[in-house]
C-alpha cells in the first residue's frame, strides 16, 4: 500500500508545482489567468527572500514498485498581517490531483500548514474558496473554518495595473 507524506517543496519540484497550478486554475474555470513561468516560481520561492512557501504531497512507492515517488498535491502559503490580530498565515493554493482525492491528503496538507502557523506565532489561518466549491467549503468547515464573507460581509477587491496607474496619477 503506497503511503503519502507531506514535505517542504524543493526547487526541483517547480515543474510539478506549475503543472498543478494550471490544473487547479482549470478546475476553478480561470485557467486563462495563469501567466507565471517555472523560472519565476524558482526565483520567487527558492531565492534568498522567498515570496512564498510551498508544501508538496508525495506518494511513496511500495517496495518493488517500479515508479519512483511522485508529487500529487501541493499547498502554497505565505505570511500576512492583520492590524487587529497580528501575524497570520494565508494558504493561497491547495490542490490534490483528482485520482488521489478521498484519501485525506488535502487534510494532511492543511494540518501541516496549521503546524507552521503555530510555530511562527500566527493567531489565524486564512484562505479563499469559490462559492460553488461545496466540497472544499465543507472540508474547511469540518476543520473549524468560518466563512468571513458570509458572517461579516468581507469582500475581496482588486485593482489591476491600468486602474492603479490612474489612481497614482
Amino acid at each position: 500500500m503506497a503511503s503519502t507524506r507531506i514535505r517542504e517543496a524543493k526547487e526541483r519540484d517547480c515543474g510539478d508545482i506549475l503543472r498543478m497550478i494550471r490544473e487547479l486554475a482549470e478546475f476553478e474555470k480561470l485557467s486563462h489567468q495563469v501567466k507565471i513561468s517555472e523560472e519565476a516560481l524558482r526565483a520567487d520561492g527558492f531565492g534568498e527572500n522567498p515570496s512564498f512557501h510551498c508544501l508538496v504531497a508525495e506518494v511513496i512507492p511500495t517496495p518493488g514498485e517500479l515508479q519512483g515517488p511522485r508529487v500529487v498535491g501541493f499547498g502554497l502559503y505565505y505570511f500576512i498581517y492583520s492590524t487587529w490580530k497580528g501575524r497570520n498565515i494565508y494558504l493561497e493554493d491547495i490542490y490534490v490531483m483528482p485520482q488521489y482525492r478521498g484519501q485525506g491528503i488535502g487534510t494532511k496538507i492543511i494540518k501541516k500548514v496549521a503546524e507552521v502557523a503555530l510555530h511562527k506565532g500566527c493567531s489565524q489561518f486564512r484562505l479563499a474558496v469559490l462559492d460553488w466549491n461545496k466540497k472544499a467549503m465543507d472540508l474547511y468547515k469540518s476543520l473549524g473554518a468560518q466563512d468571513l464573507t458570509e458572517l461579516e460581509g468581507w469582500h475581496s477587491f482588486r485593482f489591476e495595473e491600468a486602474a492603479m496607474r490612474q489612481l497614482a496619477e
Partner: protein, 167 residues
C-alpha cells in the same frame, strides 16, 4: 488641506500607528477586536523579517490634531503571492483621519505606486461600507467576491491547536 508629507514609518511611529488602527476599527464598529500592542507592531514591523510595511501621512505643526498629533493617516501593506502572476502588494489597512480627508488618500496611493513595482493590488472591503466601495469602484477596482464568487475563510488558533494535537 494644504501641506502634508508621506513617508515610510519608523520604529518610533508605532504608538501613532496603533492609535490610527484603533480609530479605523472604531469606524468599522470592531474596536474591541484590536488585540495588537505597540510591542507587537515594533517586533513584527521593524525586526529582521518584517511581516508588514507602513507609510504614514504627517502634517506640519499648524495642522496638528487638537491632541497634538502630527501623524494623521497610514497605509499598512505587505507582499503576497499569486501563483498565476507572481508577487503582489496587499493593502491591509488604509486610513486617514476624517478632518484630513480629501487629498492625503491620493498622496498615499501615489507613494505606494511609485515606490513598488506593482502589477495589482488586493484588499478587503466590508459589504456595508458603501462610501469605500464606491470610492474604489469609481477608480476601476473589481469586487472579486461578487464577480468571481470568492469567499474568505478563517481558522482561529483554537482549531489550529486541535489540528496540531491530532497529528
Amino acid at each position: 488641506m494644504a501641506k502634508f508629507k508621506i513617508r515610510p514609518a519608523t520604529a518610533s511611529d508605532c504608538s501613532d500607528i496603533l492609535r490610527l488602527i484603533k480609530e479605523l476599527a472604531k469606524y468599522e464598529y470592531m474596536e474591541d477586536q484590536v488585540m495588537l500592542t505597540e510591542k507587537d507592531l515594533l517586533e513584527d514591523g521593524f525586526g529582521e523579517h518584517p511581516f508588514y510595511h507602513c507609510l504614514i501621512a504627517e502634517v506640519p505643526k499648524e495642522h496638528w490634531t487638537p491632541e497634538g498629533h502630527s501623524i494623521v493617516g497610514f497605509a499598512m501593506y505587505y507582499f503576497t503571492y499569486d501563483p498565476w502572476i507572481g508577487k503582489l502588494l496587499y493593502l491591509e489597512d488604509f486610513f486617514v483621519m476624517s478632518d484630513y480627508r480629501g487629498t492625503i488618500e491620493f498622496g498615499i496611493g501615489g507613494s505606494l505606486k511609485r515606490n513598488q513595482s506593482l502589477c495589482s493590488m488586493h484588499f478587503l472591503v466590508a459589504e456595508w461600507n458603501e462610501p469605500s466601495i464606491n470610492f474604489y469602484k469609481r477608480r476601476g477596482a473589481s469586487d472579486l467576491s461578487s464577480e468571481e464568487g470568492w469567499r474568505l475563510f478563517k481558522i482561529d488558533k483554537e482549531y489550529l491547536l486541535k489540528m496540531a494535537a491530532e497529528e
